[in-house]
Amino acid sequence: MDKFTKVTGVAVPLMRQNVDTDLIIRIERLVDNVGREGLGPFCFEQIRFKPDGSEDPDCILNQEPYREAPIILSRENFGCGSSREGAVWALKGFGIKTVIAPYFGDIFNNNCFQNGILPVALPIEEIEQLADEMTASPGNARVTVDLENCVVVSPTGRTIPFQIDARRQHAMLNGLDDIAQTFSRKAEIEAWQSNDKTARPWVWL
């Protein structure tokens, strides 16, 4: 997994509630054989493009300086809906490193941590203020997300702390893979299974 330590850059205020994973990536893009590396161009296609395929200039994701933003600011429940991990791969391919929202869809949240994308939960008032600071000085404003110190630094230099599970912080900082860690507990797993076969034999087909 990719490591995540710190990101500094433009933060795009995509200030909607309930940004669902269908909106982030359409399902047919996951059926087409473009592979997980090829999903970036299709990220948010339903709002970035008009039905005729041309870019919608009203969509903030198409506007300067937000086009290259590595940070998304959003409202409640970002990543709700479908479990498709393609939503995270699409964000990654689109250049997104971290999403800041009050809270996230549970499955999306887990999927982010599997791919080195950092979901940062902050109170909505803080996010609204970050968005205001971004739009107040377009072109110059930058946001920093620092995982080591668990802080977001706003364009005006305000330091906003955020919380993250220590286990996940450690895994992200070091790019650790869950499977390798679980494999080190193989003996424990096998002992549990052996006991369970006696206790609940009907489960074991």
Partner: protein
């Protein structure tokens, strides 16, 4: 110490405590479908992780298969490579695949309970957010992403953090025309689409106890639409009657032993929940969604909401939803013209759903301007319906009778509601573009969907 149903299943599956609130949890059943199943198996194998417990893994194609009568894996060409890879990888490790055209094939969340693979007290995962469906059997079931899928294939475990507990109680008798679909839509409308985020939900109360298993599966199916990954109903005699004799359910003395264990699972009377919400069924009428989130739901006899009178933080979302849906606030939703009707999906494609829709369609005909599809949830349901003559009822009423699969619920097999067209659907999501780019979706029960097809407009099933 008193425990909830959820705690009993969770605690008994903890292999080790990983600290910081995380545990390593044993997974008793892993279900695979064609969108992610073959790919995940391939990825695991390429990384050097062969499936550790292939006999606890089962698969079936549903997402990318055409549901056109007479379909093969070639009918929807983009799905062919997915099913071919699923066949190749499952065969290599002896993983049972209920393949296209075979007995047992169907929507993965229909297949599990139908086969008796989904058992009370088990942990079950699948790479699909509607895995919560299996909770209707008293299982702890939740959807996972592709990476977690590879982890489960490789280790038959998952690294998880324990969620909080949410009890949603439905009390009293169901009013005429009201189904499990209306119960869960009403709940989501009440508490909102994120109320369950970070929680495991238990559905309880006299109305839930009175529901047959298929309705409990519908209830649990939409749990993810209120933000929770898992929803469950305590197993009881209704569960055991449903399960007894199914292909993979325990038999004989083993059955008796299993039932004795399952009887210990329901929440202790004084078990505590972190959040409680109670709904009086006397206040629940047939529901229909009006917007682009499952929480945008009203009783069918109500008016389309006006954003200017809604909660301040939701006004912008409501206005955007109405614009997308092409609806005017303040008008009755009943009578809104529809172009499509979709009866199917892991929410509402079981035999009882088809019977309810057929009861409305029988002896009537769909409106000329409506295209109405019925997509049974599995090969077995299709056969059972045909044995009862339900296919004939639908065909006589001008509906299409199709092959089992996910179909137009998420349009991943090319079956879409056309842009700008309005559909009453028995599925689970009314998101922007969910049923196809520009498609407008209204979620409702199977009988409400059939009524819309007959009337050519959103209709109150109680008036038919």
């Amino acid at each position: 110490m008193s425990k909830t149903l959820f705690d009993k299943i969770w605690d008994s599956h903890v292999i080790s405590d990983l600290g910081n609130g995380f545990v390593l949890l044993h997974i008793d059943r892993l279900l695979l479908h064609d969108m992610s199943g073959g790919k995940a198996l391939k990825e695991a194998i390429e990384k050097g992780y062969a499936p550790s417990q292939p006999r606890l893994i089962y698969g079936t194609p549903d997402h990318t298969m055409s549901t056109q009568p007479g379909r093969t894996e070639k009918t929807f060409a983009p799905g062919e490579s997915l099913i071919l890879s699923m066949r190749e990888t499952t065969r290599a490790y002896g993983i049972k695949l209920f393949d296209l055209g075979q007995d047992g094939q169907g929507i993965v969340h229909v297949m599990g309970p139908e086969q008796g693979l989904t058992l009370p007290g088990t942990t079950l995962v699948c790479g699909d957010s509607h895995t919560s469906t299996h909770g209707g059997m008293g299982a702890l079931a939740f959807g996972i992403g592709a990476s977690e899928l590879v982890h489960t294939i490789a280790t038959q475990t998952m690294v998880q953090r324990k969620p909080k507990r949410f009890r949603a109680s439905f009390e009293g008798a169901l009013q005429p025309g009201v189904t499990a679909k209306d119960m869960i839509l009403h709940l989501i409308g009440d508490v909102g689409t994120a109320a369950g985020t970070g929680y495991a939900v238990e559905y309880a109360g006299s109305a839930v106890r009175a529901l047959p298993v298929e309705a409990r599966l519908t209830l649990c199916n939409l749990t993810i639409e209120m933000g929770a990954r898992t929803g469950m109903v305590a197993p009881d005699d209704t569960t055991y009657e449903y399960l007894d004799g199914r292909d993979y359910a325990p038999k004989g003395a083993m059955w008796d032993r299993a039932v004795a264990h399952w009887r210990t699972l329901p929440s202790d009377p004084d078990a505590e929940f972190d959040r409680e919400h109670t709904i009086d069924m006397a206040n629940v009428a047939p529901q229909i969604t009006w917007g682009t989130s499952p929480e945008h739901v009203i009783a069918v006899d109500r008016a389309i909401p006006d954003p200017s009178t809604g909660p301040e933080e939701k006004r912008a979302a409501w206005a955007a939803a109405l614009k997308y849906q092409g609806l005017e606030p303040g008008r009755p939703i009943e009578g809104t013209q529809v172009d499509w009707v979709f009866i199917g999906s892991c929410t509402n494609s079981r035999i009882s759903d088809l019977r309810a829709a057929a009861a409305i369609a029988r002896g009537r005909h769909k409106a000329d301007h409506v295209t109405a599809w019925v997509v049974p949830g599995s090969v077995r349901i299709k056969r059972e319906a045909e044995a009862e003559g339900l296919d004939k009822v639908f065909l006589d009423a001008g509906f299409e009778w199709r092959e089992p699969g996910c179909s137009m619920c998420l349009a991943s097999n090319g079956e879409r509601v056309p842009p700008g067209k309005r559909s009453v659907s028995t599925s689970n999501r009314n998101f922007v573009g969910r049923q196809g780019p520009g498609a407008r979706t209204h979620l409702a029960s199977p009988a409400m969907a059939a009524a819309a097809a007959i009337k050519g407009a959103i209709a109150d099933v109680r008036k038919l």
